[in-house]
């Protein structure tokens, strides 16, 4: 039985062998995630093998905001959000529910953060290929926002999550 540990990314994690099949995702984890974290630009949580510290999956979260332009919601022209900017699963572990597991972790982390500094949405930026996974394959509460170029933006209302968990 493989035991994993979910932890903040640090120098002890072995990232060299990580491969999600997406070069942008791999490159982010191997080259930018830790420096971003040290600069307080994003926070990365890694699911690692407890014995050899090899990373098998990760998510990166940061604070952001939605600008409502000339319109207002609740009298505000900006909505505070948590951005799930990156999610990656190693190819050896794909199809084993780790993506869904990490969304659950992201939801709970976002809710913890919103108890200290309010944020209303968990926002996900995904490739159009993955859009249906988030919207249909598993009912995770995602709603569609917009498509732009090769990306889709989706969100979960954290208030709905809080009231229904």
């Amino acid at each position: 039985m493989t035991d994993f540990i979910l932890k903040d990314l640090d120098e002890s994690d072995f990232l060299e062998d990580f491969s999600s099949g997406d070069n942008n995702i791999n490159s982010f984890l191997k080259n930018l995630a830790l420096s971003n974290q040290k600069a307080k630009l994003s926070k990365t949580y890694v699911l690692s093998d407890k014995i050899n510290h090899k990373a098998v999956a990760f998510i990166s979260l940061s604070a952001s905001q939605l600008n409502t332009g000339d319109a207002k919601i609740f009298g505000m022209d900006k909505i505070p959000v948590i951005l799930l900017g990156r999610l990656g699963v190693d190819t050896n572990y794909q199809g084993k529910e780790l993506g869904s597991f990490l969304i659950k972790v992201a939801l709970e982390k976002a809710l913890e953060a919103s108890a200290i500094i309010a944020c209303r949405l968990l926002l996900v930026e995904t490739s159009k290929d993955m859009k249906n996974y988030y919207l249909e394959k598993v009912s995770m509460g995602f709603e569609w926002f917009k498509d732009k170029k090769q990306f889709s933006t989706l969100y979960i209302d954290l208030l709905k999550h809080e009231e229904n968990r």
């Binding site: 932890k7 930018l32 407890k50 952001s64 659950k104 933006t153």
Partner: protein, 80 residues
Amino acid sequence: MMTTTHKKKEIEKKNFTENLFFHLDKDLILTSEEVERLKKSFKNAEVDPKTKEFFQSAHRLYDKLKQNNFTISLEEIQKE
């Protein structure tokens, strides 16, 4: 010849220009149509049963993680 500090700065500059994590921020300005859709979504408090089950599962799983010092097996992940 490029100094070490210069090289380091060049690498940092390259890293930041390639930091795709933030490319979405430029697109986070909503159109009036998107704002209306969001308002409607905020007003609708209904959550379908499958989504509700997902939300509850997230809460159970996270509680379990906290109780076990954030250690979990693949089997437990798949079970939940």
